[in-house]
Symmetry: C2
Subunit: 418 residues, 2 copies
């Protein structure tokens, strides 16, 4: 029997308890040990829990109990999670977390601590909820050089965009619905502004390429500026607007990494990921495109990924898995997105004499039209060139009287994703 402790008894934490108690047979079959939840750390009281006698408000109970070999951190936030996790690792306990903020900010440091103390630090649930992605990326793709990862990493924004796309709902209404259904927080900015997706692409980039990438290094845009017009133009173009987290290794070894709304062509599997679902597309030099799809959040899906990590810790007590990356990125490891060639979707209002100049300014553009295109509204896809050049040309266009309303990057059709 293996003693574990669970720090946090919110949505995910209570889900972990539920999954462990209701899957004893399956866990025994895989872990070859029973799991005993020895402590649950929470400031609140849960007198009606079947494990009411295991609750504690004192972290010291956990870290000083040598019988506890695996600790689950599902409190969220950086503090006190970082302090607690560090101390558990130093005390020789393996730690499992679903806390993407923690892994994105402190992953390299915590992985180094885990290695130093010969224990595991696992975080499958920090990206994609219940979808297996961290472990397959680390293990199954060990014989690949990863070229690129593109993902729909946030279920809340994907739900909102799906409502806009499928039901013609305005952004504000779709957000209100997401809040009503419990998919979005009262303060939705972490989701809507792309910060949640940013943490996840940082974790994936760090794991795939070996050097820690911090959220502050990643150009991040949210979806609050998108309108139904943009959604319609995306469809007229032959795809959907999705909030995409993307990292690509460039030829000089640096990373092109960003989070932003993108026009995703229908031929790309990511365009078919709807509602609260997540999808992560990994491109390796040998395996080509591989996609992982499922519920990116939610109590039981996330809890099942946490429980699977706990089982893995139990199986590997004497052979840590050494999932690893370092805080060793060279200078300019993250390239400015402005230096990388891209196509932009552009929507704006302009007098006819201005719109007639667009072709001269950008070269071969693709004009888009929908049934509802208002007069003097122009929407087009630019040719591919360094984003800085495109931005300069757009500024020039504005000086001649155009009002640019939205620009969205295009996920290029590179022929891989059939």
């Amino acid at each position: 029997m293996v003693n574990i402790a669970i720090m946090g008894h919110g949505v995910v934490g209570s889900g972990v308890v539920e999954v462990i108690l209701s899957h004893k047979e399956s866990i025994l079959r895989h872990a070859h040990e029973e799991l005993n939840i020895q402590y649950i750390l929470d400031r609140r009281e849960f007198p009606d829990s079947p494990l009411a006698d295991r609750f504690t408000k004192n972290f010291e109970d956990i870290v000083t109990d040598d019988s506890v070999s695996v600790v689950v951190e599902v409190m969220g936030g950086l503090h006190p999670a970082f302090d607690f996790v560090s101390r558990c690792l130093c005390a020789g306990k393996s730690v499992v977390t679903s806390n993407k903020e923690l892994v994105a900010a402190k992953g390299a440091e915590l992985l180094a601590l885990a290695r130093e103390h010969g224990v595991n630090f696992l975080f499958e649930a920090s990206v994609g909820g219940g979808i297996p992605i961290i472990r397959p990326l680390d293990q199954c793709l060990a014989a690949n050089n990863v070229l690129e990862i593109s993902g729909i990493l946030n279920g809340t924004t994907n739900f909102i965009l799906s409502k806009m796309i499928d039901e013609g709902m305005e952004f504000a209404d779709a957000l209100a619905l997401a809040q009503k259904l419990g998919y979005a927080e009262r303060d939705p900015s972490a989701d809507v502004d792309g910060h949640d997706a940013c943490r996840k692409i940082c974790i994936l980039a760090s794991l795939a390429f070996g050097s820690h990438v911090y959220p502050e290094q990643v150009h991040t845009e949210g979806i609050s500026g998108l309108t139904l017009a943009d959604v319609d133009y995306a469809r007229a173009w032959g795809g959907e607007i999705k909030l995409v987290g993307r990292v690509k290794k460039l030829e000089d070894g640096s990373l092109y990494i960003l989070v932003c709304p993108m026009f995703v062509p229908e031929s790309n599997q990511l365009s078919h990921i709807d509602g609260v679902f997540n999808g992560v597309m990994v491109t390796g030099d040998a395996v080509d495109d591989v996609l992982f799809y499922g519920q990116g959040a939610g109590k039981l899906p996330t809890a099942s990924a946490v429980a699977a990590d706990v089982i893995d810790c139990v199986k590997h007590t004497h052979a840590p898995k050494y999932l690893f990356w370092e805080d060793n990125a060279p200078k300019n490891y993250v390239t400015s997105h402005l230096d990388v060639p891209v196509s932009l979707y552009v929507r704006g209002h302009m007098p006819d004499e201005v719109s007639e100049q667009i072709g001269d300014l950008f070269g071969e553009i693709c004009l888009l039209a929908t049934e509802d295109t208002p007069e003097q509204e122009v929407a087009f896809i630019t040719p591919r060139m360094p984003e800085r050049e495109l931005r300069d040309k757009l500024a020039e266009l504005e000086q001649t009287g155009a009002q640019i309303q939205t620009t969205v990057r295009v996920l290029e059709r590179d022929g891989r994703s059939a």
Copy 2:
């Protein structure tokens, strides 16, 4: 440094050599050891290979060399693969294979041998080529009770169906194209008749539910009877025809497992898997639906999965992974598909007075029509009832003068796959 041997130097075998030689850095990072290809077993000569001096025609060289700790079997077929793999495991060597025929027929036996000798027997590449599926199913879903697995498991038939669906190509022409492009064998029956998909769903079912399921136990239908009319009716209904391998645990603990063409609704991710790609949807009680997607075959994708397994063997030399199932299925473990409720798509020719009776016979049906529906052709979806009852009713319909041309099962819209 770890010495390995590779048995077979065909498409996959030469791919394994290529992947190992071209990913030394990534392999070292994950395995913490270099891999040395000590032997390659093949009856042919390869004087131009960079490893020409490693070739042998004698299996005894490999099995008697104690310095070899991992053996890759990529010869295919049951004999002599089964004998060679058994002897390697008994000699204390871990074995990695891509041979689905071997795993589907002898998996339980070989897993027992591996456990007995404290070594690994891994076969990630046997299902879904390069797509990570075996390992995620075993590890990440350890905290789930698997309810169902549905997959597009054969790229050749999916390519043929995609050509029929997207380009209106007749079955025979699409098959000829697949053969020309090297996706189909000169004798295409293993793919076209569903036997390849059957082996794969047997492997997935055995792993997910713990008891070996043999291909002979699985009702298997191929795609050679499908016409463009069926493809069109599927679209009129709101989906696509796909060759699906499916296993579902029934309430009494028995399995409903079969391989057959199915009408897949557009709302199900499997309907969007086109061309030579594969996709496997796993439904767990905690994680809900998870989909794994990628190239299900091909030299380098498959080779990269084999190489990842080799790396895993190296990492777990002293702690076998115990991926496991047993040959312990109770009597009637596999339920007759005729006893399970299903909806059928039915297409036939019949006089008007016969077609008018369909509603009386089946209850509430859904009539389908396309632009090209010929006179006296009738296509409809039956209500859901035990398949045996549906077959009885169809026989009755034929007695009154109907000619039934095709029946295809419907993958029910169960509201899970949004």
